[in-house]
């Protein structure tokens, strides 16, 4: 089963999994945009620009790193080689473009990040599946019964752990009730993702080591987790701006008065109706009371 999956989605076809995850993530983010008071079309535009900046940024940064090679063959800039790509440059470009676009369109940071969270969670699931297909992010050698045969050894199925952790994160975020604190969904995603990375990294077989064998990714994940938890504590409930309150308050007051007036008039009508009908009712009642005597 696993071999079949790995054969079907062997690189570069593993990118299909990433693209599918990004597409589903975008659809879900659009569906939830209203919940975060974010404009749906602005959000989809933002995701489009983020993806575009990621792809272009990754290639341009790689080209800048190997300027002499690209200067000799400039057409290589538009080649379809996924290997000629730098993830750090891609991420930096996406962050810059996302920030600039958001600022220009007046999008608030926390609600926008919350609205983007379904996209990020789905992307994390897609990355897990892509790792499973390509054999990247592999585990260390193990004797556990659920180990998988990969790269000439029985290894911890870290890619499967990654998928399970991402699916759980998605379930928590998606099934969560709406929170009044903007940013809480995104920070919860950041905390859960960094916590799972912190745990799973311990089983990885390709970690970069620092200081006597400490895995650098775990240190980074722990720091992100700490920042996310502190930020979650510091978040404040959504506050309606004073200007909006001032505008809305008189409208609410008028509506309240209207409702009051209506209720008063209807209750007054009811009383008059009762007064009108009351004598007849009394009459019939007396008639009824009288009838047995007759």
């Amino acid at each position: 089963m696993l071999d079949l999956f790995r054969n079907i989605f062997a690189p570069p076809r593993d990118l299909i999994l990433l693209a599918a995850a990004a597409w589903i993530g975008m659809s879900l983010a659009e569906k939830r945009a209203k919940r975060y008071h974010t404009d749906k079309s602005l959000l989809s535009n933002l995701i489009f620009y983020l993806v575009l900046a990621y792809l272009l940024g990754g290639r341009i940064y790689y080209a800048l790193e190997h300027l002499s090679a690209f200067a000799q063959s400039p057409l290589s800039l538009i080649s379809l080689n996924t290997a000629a790509f730098d993830s750090f440059g891609a991420l930096a470009a996406a962050l810059i473009v996302g920030f600039v676009y958001g600022q220009r369109k007046g999008m608030s940071v926390w609600p926008t990040l919350d609205a983007l969270t379904p996209f990020f969670t789905l992307l994390a699931i897609g990355i897990g599946f892509s790792h499973l297909a390509s054999g990247a992010a592999f585990g260390s050698e193990t004797t556990v019964p659920w180990g998988i045969n990969l790269w000439g050894a029985i290894r911890q199925p870290t890619q499967i752990y990654e998928i399970i952790a991402s699916l759980l994160t998605f379930a928590v975020i998606w099934l969560r009730k709406a929170d009044s604190k903007p940013g809480s969904d995104f920070l919860l995603f950041a905390a859960l993702t960094s916590a799972s990375r912190l745990i799973i990294e311990g089983f990885r077989g390709d970690s970069t080591l620092i200081l006597g064998g400490v895995r650098s990714a775990q240190v980074i994940a722990w720091l992100i987790l700490a920042v996310s938890l502190v930020a979650l504590e510091l978040l404040k409930p959504r506050v309606v701006p004073v200007a909006v309150v001032e505008k809305v308050e008189p409208v609410i007051e008028t509506k309240r008065n209207e409702v009051k007036r209506k209720t008063q008039s209807t209750s007054a009508q009811k009383t008059t109706n009762v007064k009108k009908t009351a004598p007849s009712k009394t009459k019939s009642a007396t008639a009824k009371r009288k009838s047995p005597k007759e």
């Binding site: 790995r6 054969n7 062997a10 690189p11 570069p12 076809r13 080209a63 190997h66 090679a69 690209f70 000799q72 063959s73 057409l75 290589s76 800039l77 080649s79 080689n81 996924t82 290997a83 000629a84 054999g135 990247a136 592999f138 260390s140 050698e141 790269w151 000439g152 050894a153 916590a195 912190l198 745990i199 990294e201 311990g202 089983f203 990885r204 077989g205 390709d206 970690s207 080591l209 006597g212 064998g213 400490v214 895995r215 775990q218 240190v219 994940a221 722990w222 987790l225 700490a226 938890l229 502190v230 979650l232 504590e233």
Partner: protein, 184 residues
């Protein structure tokens, strides 16, 4: 949950994280991919012995100390054809600096009669090896053609490029990387 309990929980999570970092410290160096042979970046390139159409034998482990590009191809594969001129160009350019290119034909899935005309057509001067029994294909987990493995002078894989054609810039970058790699 009460804020005080939540804060205690957060503190406990962070403490547990720190403990896990120190418990999972890699003391044996197993996490650095080790020295086991596998067709993956960071691993030792799996060894193989293959023959050229003229009968000359090449063994990968005998090329230790040299920067090696193993390119797996077939005559019917359009991206393989597209990247051949680039590979030949850089082979000529960097051969004197210690670059060895092994063009491995996936003979098990190719017509052997087409190989020599193909080599003549593209003027390939680097060794062409025949993988008749798919021995290399299985060792290198071959799933797509072309597949290229850039091998450092110490025998570890520096980069794997699955699919193609490789752009000239990527080829040059990866070749320069393996040429700069230390022998041990």
């Amino acid at each position: 949950m009460q804020p005080i309990y939540r804060r205690i929980l957060y503190g406990f999570i962070l403490l547990a994280g720190l403990v896990w970092i120190f418990v999972s410290v890699d003391k044996t160096g197993a996490s650095t991919a080790g020295r086991v042979p596998a067709p993956q970046k960071g691993f030792l390139a799996p060894d193989f012995t293959l023959k050229t159409p003229t009968g000359k034998t090449y063994t990968l482990s005998e090329l230790k100390g040299k920067a090696v590009l193993v390119n797996i191809w077939a005559t019917w594969c359009p991206p393989c054809r597209a990247e051949m001129p680039g590979i030949q160009k850089f082979y000529q350019q960097y051969q004197s600096q210690g670059l060895v290119v092994l063009g491995v034909n996936a003979t098990a899935q190719d017509n052997p009669l087409d190989i020599v005309p193909f080599v003549t057509q593209y003027g390939l001067t680097f060794p062409i090896l025949l993988d008749e029994t798919n021995d290399l294909g299985s060792k290198y987990n071959l799933r797509s053609l072309p597949s290229s493995f850039f091998i450092n002078r110490d025998g570890t894989i520096a980069d794997v490029v699955i699919g193609g054609p490789m752009s000239d810039a990527l080829l040059q970058t990866d070749i320069e990387t393996i040429l700069k790699s230390p022998a041990n």
